[in-house]
């Protein structure tokens, strides 16, 4: 299953417009597995890491990638206060319908607004980015097989191409991108973001934080879901025990 899905991922990432040689798509290296805060039955996204990830997204990714399923109000679930969310939102300028003369109007975002999109539409994005279309990141972790490790692999996998590798114009070499040719230039490097909480700004830290943030945007219900799940399963096990005891008692006169 992995091979075809990775091929598909490759296909989608280049937006179908940049025609890659078919042979180049055959390689689909598996990114190594990382330990994630949200792994396992009890794992939930590390909120401090996700907050830093939001900073990475805001300062770097959001220049090209939209997240149209997200609203600024959602950030309260990351631990930001209402006042902080209002302050964050107000730093972004978003379309706000039309003014009294019918002209399109813009203004500072409110917590109720969607995350600001870097481009008004797909054509504008492709025109600005040499034909490439950066995918919306709202659901990116769920939209790729083994999404968290995959995105982490892409972000940390930039390297010099091997001597015999033919890189097309405008493309970049990435060890974990299927086919190795990715239109996106290396987005994260050591020191690319200065974290406000003093966390070391290494590439791996930035990548880890932004993946944690993206996992949260893909699955914002994770913490509530897993906590409820533990209680539901424990209750059902108890109920099964009681029901089985009742059944045994009822059947005791038959066998």
């Amino acid at each position: 299953m992995r091979t075809p899905r990775s091929l598909l991922a490759a296909f989608l990432m280049v937006g179908g417009l940049l025609a890659l040689p078919a042979a180049a798509q055959d390689e689909s290296p598996t990114p190594p597995s990382q330990n994630w805060s949200f792994d396992g039955i009890f794992g939930t996204p590390d909120l401090a890491s996700a907050q830093r990830g939001f900073q990475v997204y805001s300062e770097v990714c959001s220049n090209c990638h939209a997240m149209h399923e997200m609203h600024y109000r959602d950030l309260t679930a990351l631990g930001f206060t209402d006042a902080e969310v209002t302050a964050i939102a107000s730093t972004f300028t978003v379309p706000q319908g039309t003014d009294d003369s019918g002209q399109p109007k813009e203004g500072p975002a409110t917590p109720a607004d969607q995350f600001r999109s870097p481009f008004p539409n797909e054509k504008a994005a492709r025109a600005a980015l040499n034909g490439a279309l950066p995918p919306d990141l709202s659901l990116i972790i769920n939209a790729r097989p083994d999404g968290a490790n995959y995105v982490y692999g892409i972000l940390t996998g930039y390297a010099q191409p091997p001597a015999d590798f033919k890189l097309q114009d405008g493309m970049n070499y990435d060890a974990y991108f299927p086919g190795h040719q990715i239109a996106m230039p290396q987005p994260l490097t050591d020191g690319r973001v200065t974290f406000t909480d003093g966390t070391p700004d290494t590439l791996s830290q930035e990548a880890r934080d932004v993946v944690t943030f993206l996992y949260w945007t893909s699955n914002p219900e994770t913490a509530e879901r897993k906590a409820m799940g533990v209680r539901v399963i424990l209750f059902l096990i108890l109920l099964t025990g009681v029901t089985y005891a009742v059944k045994r008692k009822i059947w005791s006169d038959v066998h």
Partner: protein, 420 residues
Amino acid sequence: MAGLHKSDLPNPVLNWIDSRLPIITMMQKEYGVFPTPRNFNYFWNFGALAMVTLVIMIVTGIFLAMNYQPNTGLAFDSVQHIMRDVNYGWLIRYVHQNGASMFFVVTYVHIFRGLYYGSYKAPRELLWMLGVVILLLMMATAFMGYVLPWGQMSYWGATVITNLFSAFPWIGPKIVTLLWGGFSVDQPTLNRFFSLHYLLPFVLIGVVFLHVAALHIVGSNNPLGIEPQGPQDTLPFHPYYTSKDSVGVCVFLIVWAAFVFFAPNMLGDPNNFIPANPLQTPADIVPEWYFLPYYAILRSVPNKLLGVCFMFGSLLVLFVLPWLDTSRVRSARFRPTYRKLILLLVLSFLVLGYCGAHKPEGIYVILSRVAALYYFAHFLVILPILGKLERPLPLPESITQAVTGRPIEAVITGRPLESH
């Protein structure tokens, strides 16, 4: 005038109602004292489990429909709206999404139960055939439900599956246009699929009612496959089987909850988190796991029309199964050869499912052809002949004798059952 039903309920209000509409008497007769073979094993839970699943699917589905938009421009985002903004929307949706898989799991086990214990044989042919109708309706409903989130796999799955009908000469393209409501999968398709996805579960309830009604005329089969000969062979449905079904339901809900809370997207495809894009075909279009065996049959035949015929034929053959199986013995317990071959049928079904998930290349083509060949040979060749050749083991005299190991006379003369 037929006059009032003579109700003997002590409560005056219930008595008044029951005299005019004897619904309480009916429930008492069909689910209270209903004589049920005393020797069911836990395989007999799965009908009840399917019933519970159907109800949960309808309830969650109704709440999803309150927030879903059957519009190509809005559908994907409306599903995310349910997941993110609607109170407990994620819970309702994950229950519904995984519920489809659970429904097929319990239904496939239920069908296996029927095959293994010969529940389709006289006088239960019509009961069985209604069950096949239920399976077909379930498949149509599940297929259309999968289209509604309007992700990449929704769109391309719908395109591939509806296009299958185009294989039929002359009428095929007309059927496809009718299904689409146009000349490609688009807004009219999504809109009618939503309408039908909401309608068919209620049709299902109707057919399930007939299925249960037919069951209550002929009575349940049992692991021995011999008919109860009297009250000593049966137990009242309540409390014996209500309590036993409750145990099964609890265990089943644990499995379901494990998926919903801890692996909600395990059975899904990552591609469906990408909005439908008619200009971009995924590299590999795969149906949901419960359709994979049929998908493998379709692809194991090099000719499209024949492939479609074999795929539908693999389901339609079930309709005539009661007449293909010439053995008079129901339960596989007493059919030594059939007992092995039915497991081979299960194996072929699993192999087909495994092959359906892979590209039809190399070993997968060979495997799926062998498995498909066995699947059809089992029904069309082996079962008619085996009934004549096989020498069944001796059947027990009665259910009670087989269960208690005592001669039937000792039981009938009133020795208490719990004495051993």
